[in-house]
Symmetry: C2
C-alpha cells in the first residue's frame, strides 16, 4: 500500500480466525482449503464478510498461474480428459486443481463433477484438488464464487486451474471471462447442430480438441477435424495474436494428452511474450471489480429501507415506461450524492 495516495487508508483490522485460515491455506492445508471454499459458497452476510476478507488476503499473494477453461457437451469425455491430463502433469511436478461451473445441474439433477469417481485416480492424488460447482441461484452468483475458488486454490499452491463447464447456456462465456486459455472438446462425427455447440463458443476457443479418436470413431474424428479446420479458416484472428489450433486425441486411450499439454504450454508462452496474458488478466480484474462496485452501489439503495422504497417505486415506473430512465437515474444519483 506504500505508494497509494496517503488519503487512501484501508481498515486493517483483520478477523483473527480468517487470518488463521489464510495461513493454513497458504501452507497448502487441504482441509482448510475445503473449509474456505465452503465459506465462500455461503450467502450468510457474516460469511460473506469473512470471505471478502479472506479473498482480499489471498489476492495479495501473487501466483504465476495458468487458468484453463474447458467446455464440451455432456458425454464428450471432459472428465476422462481431465483425469488423464491431470495425472500426466502431476508426473511433471504440477499440482492441478479442477473446478466446475454447471448452472444446469439444478435442472438436470446431476452436477458435472457430482461424482468424483469419474476422476477416480486423480481425486485420490495428494497433488490434485477437485471441487464441483458451487450451488447458486444465478449464473452470476455461481461465477463469482468460482472466481473466488480459483483465488483460493491458487493460494494453496495449485496450478494450473482447470474450470470445467458443460457447453449449455451462458456458462461458457462466464468461464471464458475468468480463464487465460479456453479449450473446446468435441465429439467425432456429429455435425455442428447435433453437438449443440454454439459457434460463438468455437470463436472463444484457443484450442479445439476432437476427442474419441479411437477404434471405430477414427474416421468420424478425422471428418470432424477436417470440418472444424475449414471452419476455423473463416474466423477472424484473435485479439491475443494466437490462431486457434485443432487436434485429435483419445482421452480414454490416453493418446495425444502429451501433445495437448505441449500445445497449452505453447499458448501460454505465446500470450505471455506478446503481453496479451497480462492485458487479459487486467481486463478480467477490472470487470470483476466493476461488477462488485455496481452491485454494491445498488445495495446502497436496497439496504436502506427508505431508499429501497424509493428505488423500487422508481424502478417500477421505469419498467412500465411511466418514468424516463434518465430522469430516474439522475434522480437516484442525486439522492446518493447530496
Amino acid at each position: 500500500m506504500s505508494n497509494l495516495n496517503p488519503k487512501i487508508k484501508l481498515n486493517k483490522k483483520r478477523l483473527p480466525q480468517i487470518e488463521e485460515l489464510y495461513k493454513q491455506i497458504l501452507e497448502g492445508d487441504r482441509f482448510a482449503l475445503g473449509k474456505a471454499i465452503t465459506l465462500i459458497e455461503s450467502n450468510n452476510p457474516q460469511h460473506r464478510k469473512e470471505s471478502k476478507e479472506l479473498i482480499s488476503m489471498c489476492l495479495k499473494n501473487k501466483r504465476n498461474t495458468l487458468r484453463i477453461g474447458i467446455t464440451g457437451s455432456p458425454g464428450v469425455g471432459k472428465s476422462t480428459l481431465l483425469e488423464n491430463l491431470g495425472l500426466y502433469i502431476i508426473e511433471k511436478g504440477y499440482k492441478p486443481a479442477i473446478l466446475a461451473i454447471d448452472p444446469s445441474s439444478k435442472i438436470s439433477g446431476g452436477s458435472i463433477l457430482g461424482d468424483k469417481t469419474r476422476m477416480n485416480k486423480l481425486s485420490k492424488s495428494e497433488n490434485a484438488f477437485i471441487r464441483p460447482s458451487p450451488a447458486g441461484k444465478s449464473l452470476g452468483g455461481v461465477a463469482n464464487k468460482t472466481k473466488e475458488s480459483v483465488i483460493l486454490v491458487e493460494t494453496a499452491g495449485y496450478n494450473p486451474v482447470f474450470i470445467e463447464t458443460v457447453g449449455v447456456g451462458q456458462s461458457e462465456t462466464a468461464v471464458h471471462s475468468m480463464t487465460d486459455l479456453f479449450i473446446l472438446l468435441l465429439q467425432p462425427g456429429a455435425g455442428d447442430e447435433i453437438q449443440g455447440i454454439k459457434r460463438g463458443i468455437m470463436e472463444m476457443a484457443d484450442i479445439i480438441v476432437v476427442n474419441k479418436a479411437d477404434g471405430e470413431n477414427i474416421h468420424n474424428a478425422e471428418k470432424t477435424f477436417a470440418q472444424y479446420s475449414n471452419a476455423l479458416g473463416l474466423l477472424a484472428k484473435k485479439e491475443s495474436g494466437w490462431s486457434t489450433k485443432i487436434m485429435m486425441i483419445s482421452a480414454m486411450e490416453n493418446k495425444g494428452i502429451d501433445k495437448l499439454w505441449d500445445l497449452i504450454l505453447e499458448f501460454e508462452k505465446t500470450v505471455r511474450s506478446s503481453g496479451y496474458f497480462d492485458t487479459n488478466r487486467k481486463k478480467q480484474n477490472q470487470e470483476w471489480f466493476h461488477d462488485y462496485l455496481f452491485n454494491n452501489l445498488l445495495e446502497i439503495f436496497t439496504n436502506n429501507p427508505e431508499l429501497k422504497k424509493i428505488y423500487k417505486e422508481v424502478l417500477e415506473k421505469v419498467e412500465n415506461g411511466n418514468m424516463s430512465l434518465y430522469e430516474a437515474g439522475d434522480y437516484l444519483i442525486d439522492i446518493l450524492v447530496k
Copy 2:
C-alpha cells in the same frame, strides 16, 4: 407522477427548444425527426443533456408498437426483404421505420444502409423512415443511440420499427435486447459454418426465413429449410412460449412476403396474449436503466478531479492485483456515501 412518493420531485424545467422539437416530432415532422436523431448521435455534453431531455419527453408518450430485429449475413437480401415488406405493409396502412446497427461498418468501410438506393422505392415513400447506423466507438454506445432512435421514430408515429444488423460480432445480441421479435434471414444451400451464422443467433430467432427460394436456388432453399427445421427440433422451447417458425421466401420475386407478415402478426398476438410481450419490454427497460445508472454512478468518480484521481489509482491497483477488488470497492463506496 401523481402516485409517486411525495418526496420524489423531478426538475420540471424544460429546455424550450427541446420542447419545440418534441412537439414537431409528435406531429410526425420528418425534418425534426432527422434533426433529433442527429442530436442524439452527438456526444457533445450539451447535446447529450438535450437528448436525455428529449427522450424523457418521448418516453411519456406510450405507443403500441412492434420492434422487429432482423439479422443475416451480408448479401442474404435484408435490404430487398425490407424494401418489399415495407412497401407491402404501407399498403395496409402501416408506417414502417428501418434503423440499422452495423458496428463493423468502420472496418468494412460501408454501412449496411449507407446506400439508400438499396431500398430505392421505400426510401422515397412518405410513409417510411430509413436511417443508417449511428457512428460510434463502441457497440454499447451505438446500441444506446439506436434505442433512443427507436423511441424517436415511434414518437413520430412510425410502427413497426425494424432494426437491421449484419450477423457478425455481438451486434445481434444488442438488437435482440431491444426488440420484441427477432428474425434470422438465411441463404439457401450453404451449411451453418459457411454462412457464418452463430448457433446462438439461431436460438434467439423467433422466425427463420430462408430467402432466395427462386430460380435455380429452390432446391438449395428446400435443403436449408429441411436442415434448419431439424435443428430447430433440438432447441429448447423459448421463454416466450412461442416456438420458432421457419419459412421460405423470395424477397426479390416478392414471394412469401405476405405470409411472413402474417407470421409476424401471429407472433405478436401470441406473445401479447401470453403476457410475454410486456414482461420482455419491462426487462429491457430495466436493463437500459441499470446500464445508465451504473455508468452514471461511475461518472461520479470520473467527473470530480479529486475522486477521479483516487478512482484511477484504485482501479490500477485492482487491475494489477495489488489491491483486492473488495477493499477497493468498499473504499470507493465509503467515500461516496460518507
